[in-house]
Symmetry: C2
Subunit: 322 residues, 2 copies
């Protein structure tokens, strides 16, 4: 193995044959190689915040939480997004290794095992802000309790007397969507109520998805009396669908959102929702990253913050309990 | 004058007596001093995006527009905010001079003359994204035509037959608020309609401000039949106030927002609004900055993008034209 080849692998370059890379990496692992931190004293006092995308409101809450911590620490915050991809492309890694930030905060996106190894070797710590709990235990992650969020939303509706409750969760390939749906099912089991599988659907977190699913659900002859949406923005689409169907919220239909974004307090009616403490999640993740950049051991690598029910105006007992 | 003192002034340090600083700066100006660009080849390929604050939705549109341009150029984007201040504090300048970005993009915030001089001497270009047109002609600025926005909103309502129209503009110390109000007045003059000065008010761009002003305006015995709000979020507060007063929108009250944020299409009713092309403004400003960082002359230093009326569901002829 040439020094040049080892150097290429260490620097995360892509122009190395996969078999060669694997051999070099196995050797580095055997010798427990960890690059010394060669960070210059100025100019790199910054962490990289990587979003899978900038979606409405949600990303801003994360940004706000992270920036509060970096600003207090006198550290810069570089922001980028992956156009909706959940894996950073290889050119992203090249730019990162050239730039050498103090650490990397990944929001709803994940590194391949090989990318993780590169960063570890370079001594660049990373933390994932993730609502889906799917990240391996070896990656420091801050999330929130999605199962509990689904449970709280369904319990609230069941306690109000609803028996036909629909759920529009997020994309089915995101574990957070499935965790919320699982919590939704658990609440029904507790209450001895059977879930109609036709009322369980998955879609994007957008208003458009809420509107389309809402129209479909509400035009059924056996329409649900309540809908639990996957996000506040998706719930705004459900509110629009209810209006198109001539249904009043909450008199004819109860609606629950998710996230508790600021806008959820100002919809008509104001949304009952599940608070996901996005700002706190980002702030804690940023602090973990700064601790790791100082070389401190983390007390725990996986933190889930609690989700809470926020009752506003969009939920009420059903007009005709079935 | 010692070399150390000149160096302190050049580096933007604060521990120089004001009189000394002024003398050094006058001397530098006489000699038309401009520091050579000593930027290292890696690690500083980044622009700094500075918000006065992260408010709902608005900041995200700016961020999206700027990031699209920096990502395409393979350049990083560092983001910070000033907790609502419109002038960066001196510690901000210290950090900036230590960090030496390619350029600085300022959103709704302004540099003092002295801060501008520091950056020019250091060869760090800056561009302001500003809706208020208040920036001096020597500072490259991208904004939008607020006067026209106010004009279009008021013309639309006057053409629908409204004669008692209220305006809730932004903070009175922001020229954008006054420019919109001026456009509002101009449209009334065109139509030969007198503006009731009691219906012209200023406030923050928040939903709370829209709610408070809305309640006050709508509880008047001679209440307006239409309200032109300062932002889409403020308009959501007005919608809430209308509901509290038992008024239907648009049957009993027409409401126009401002900005055309994505959420404005999903309120109930969907908001008629003025499109302010925030993403394009940020994208153009970022491109100007990258051009300046390459040493290119700008063709023009002040660009105002056009504002447009977007008609949705929240405006209609008044029920009883007065």
């Amino acid at each position: 193995m040439s020094v040049a080849t080892v150097s290429k692998v260490l620097n995360g370059r892509e122009d190395v044959a996969p078999a060669t890379r694997a051999r070099v990496e196995a050797s580095l692992d055997r010798h427990q190689y960890q690059r010394r931190n060669r960070r210059p004293s100025t100019g790199q006092r910054r962490i990289d915040l990587v979003f899978h995308e900038f979606d409405t409101g949600w990303a801003l809450e994360i940004l706000r939480g992270a920036e509060a911590v970096t600003a207090a620490a006198g550290i810069g915050l570089a922001v980028s997004q992956l156009d909706g991809a959940h894996r950073p492309p290889s050119r992203w890694m090249d730019a990162l290794l050239a730039d050498r930030p103090l650490g990397v905060l990944l929001v709803l996106c994940h590194l391949t095992d090989s990318q993780q190894q590169h960063l570890r070797r370079q001594g660049i710590p990373f933390v994932v802000v993730d609502t889906d709990s799917a990240t391996s235990a070896s990656v420091p992650t801050v999330g929130s309790n999605n199962f509990n969020g689904g449970l709280l939303a369904a319990r609230h509706l069941l306690e109000l007397g609803h028996r036909r409750i629909a759920v529009i969760s997020g994309p089915p390939d995101m574990l957070c969507s499935r965790a919320r749906a699982a919590g939704f099912h658990s609440a029904h089991e507790e209450a001895g109520v059977t879930v109609d599988r036709e009322l369980v659907c998955y879609g994007s977190f957008s208003a458009h998805a809420g509107h389309a699913h809402g129209l479909r659900l509400l035009s059924r002859p056996d329409r649900p009396t309540a809908i639990f949406a996957g996000s506040d923005i998706q719930a705004m689409g459900v509110l629009r669908a209810a209006r198109k169907c001539g249904l009043r919220v909450p008199e004819d239909l109860s609606v629950i959102g998710y996230d508790n974004l600021p806008v959820s307090a100002w919809t008509d009616p104001a949304l009952t929702t599940i608070n996901q403490p996005l700002g706190d999640m980002a702030g804690i993740a940023t602090q973990m990253l700064l601790d790791m950049a100082k070389g401190n051991e983390l007390a725990t690598s996986r933190i889930d913050l609690v989700t809470e029910l926020i009752v506003r105006e969009s939920t009420a007992p059903p007009a005709h309990p079935r």
